[in-house]
């Protein structure tokens, strides 16, 4: 039992030590971990760009006003390896994005995951803390 426990601790230590390195930039200075948001919107553009992809969505507010938001995801390389394809996110698709708003309070956010109308989910692999398996740090 003790042996199993010690292996378990060693394994846990290893897993924690070997978690993916921080993403491209300082999450804490760009996005606000105290401002989690969930947005339902229609994709207007998918930017497959480095070092991070950006999804643009039109979000309709309660008063009917439409606001365009930019959502940061992982690098195209990472997204492809996470199961995205070129046609995974196309203009006109309705998606729900969970993430954190930008610190400068503009309509930008880092995305954790997106959910399609049929319920499928894809991880965005961006700089958000949970995407890296870490607890949020300010």
């Amino acid at each position: 039992m003790r042996r199993t426990l010690s292996i378990g601790i060693a394994v846990l230590g290893l897993l924690l030590a070997a978690l993916p390195a921080p993403a491209h930039h300082a999450f804490g200075s760009e996005f606000n971990v105290d401002k989690p948001i969930a947005l339902r919107g229609t994709v207007t553009m998918m930017e497959w760009v480095n070092p991070h992809s950006w999804i643009h969505i039109d979000v309709k507010g309660a008063d009917g006003t439409v606001v365009n938001w930019m959502i940061e995801g992982g690098s195209p390389n990472s997204l492809l390896r996470l199961g995205f394809t070129k046609n995974a996110v196309l203009p006109g698709m309705e998606i729900v994005v969970d993430g954190y708003q930008a610190k400068d309070a503009t309509n930008k956010a880092v995305g954790k995951a997106l959910t399609f109308a049929d319920g499928r989910q894809l991880f965005l692999g961006g700089s958000e803390p949970a995407g890296r398996g870490e607890s949020p740090k300010k």
Binding site: A18, A26, S29, N50, H52, E72, N77, D98, P129
Partner: protein, 312 residues
């Protein structure tokens, strides 16, 4: 090699020696000029830390049982609870950043750093002062402008590019290309190709320095040895900058593995040289371009975030 085996005891080592003996009889594929063919795409993704967890002391290798357990756990997605920070529930077993989605180069080592200590040697007093001075000068100015951000955020050099080349955490792929006069190594993160002359020419003059240093290669038997100097003071490998000296050794030990060893030395930074070893595992590829500066909105967003939150 046999002395090394005899010095270590137990079943594990007997197994390791058996595999080493196998490795010695294995004949690598060769390029037309007769050298081992290292070409192709390889991954250095790993679950092995650079430094050994302190609680493991001088234990350099896991036992077969422990290694199997670690492998097993690494191949199972972490439960949501262990990830933390997720107020929403996601199906992590479906998509995620788990290594279950990627090939990992496994090792029985407890740390990449070899030897009984398994940790980076202490910094010299000179290095401690240098690092403290730099930190003091930077304090409060971290977000002054693009130049005050790290070279990684500025898309210049990725922190793990080295040499020595360490796993970047994601997109952990390398491609080797050999010609009679050169070996080239491309690391997906961040985009650079190391072009290594193999013709025996000396290092560039001291006043010519590069982000990735100045590398010269040679073959020692079937091992590619690469010596690198002439780094700049802008790069930072665990406190070592322009005086870093790296010797890397690449040995193809079987169809699917290159043994990657390196020794780093900098008397102005560490009290003694230190060495590490990690496997590179063959991957089907391809590697992709990581054109980092293409749309680095993050830089402007970081600075805007800093401006928005600083006292008015």
């Amino acid at each position: 090699m046999s002395n090394r085996c005899l010095a270590s005891l137990g079943f594990l080592v007997a197994m390791a020696c058996a595999s080493l003996a196998l490795a010695q009889t294995w004949t690598p594929p060769r390029t037309p000029d007769g050298h081992p063919d290292l070409q192709g795409v390889w991954t250095n993704a790993t679950i092995t830390p650079v430094e050994r967890p302190r609680e493991l002391g001088a234990k350099e290798f896991y036992t077969e049982e422990e290694a199997a357990e670690i492998r097993k756990q690494a191949l199972v997605p972490l439960p949501t609870a262990a990830r933390g920070g997720t107020e929403a529930h996601y199906e992590f077993t479906q998509f995620g950043l788990d290594r279950t989605q990627f090939q990992v180069a496994f090792s029985w080592r407890t740390s990449m750093i070899v030897g009984p200590e398994g940790r980076v040697p202490p910094l010299t007093p000179e290095a401690q002062k240098r690092i403290a001075d730099r930190a003091a000068n930077a304090k409060g100015h971290e977000f002054d402008g693009p130049e005050s951000r790290g070279i990684q955020e500025r898309c210049l050099v990725w922190g793990s590019e080295g040499p020595p080349m360490l796993p970047p955490g994601y997109n952990s792929y390398l491609q080797f290309v050999q010609t009679p006069g050169y070996v080239a190594i491309v690391q997906e993160m961040i985009h650079d190709a190391r072009i290594i002359p193999m013709d025996g020419r000396p290092h560039a003059p001291q006043n010519i320095r590069g982000w990735l240093g100045d590398s010269r290669g040679r073959w020692e038997g079937d091992t590619l040895v690469v010596d690198t100097t002439n780094f700049t003071e802008k790069t930072n490998f665990r406190g070592s900058r322009e005086h870093l000296h790296v010797v890397e050794r690449f040995t193809r030990v079987d169809d699917n593995t290159i043994r990657y060893e390196f020794t780093v030395d900098d008397p102005t930074t560490w009290t003694k040289p230190w060495s590490a070893e990690l496997p590179l595992a063959k991957d089907k590829g391809p590697i992709f371009e990581y054109a980092c500066h293409e749309a680095n909105y993050g830089m402007a967003n970081n600075l805007k975030g800093a401006r928005a939150t600083e006292p008015k």
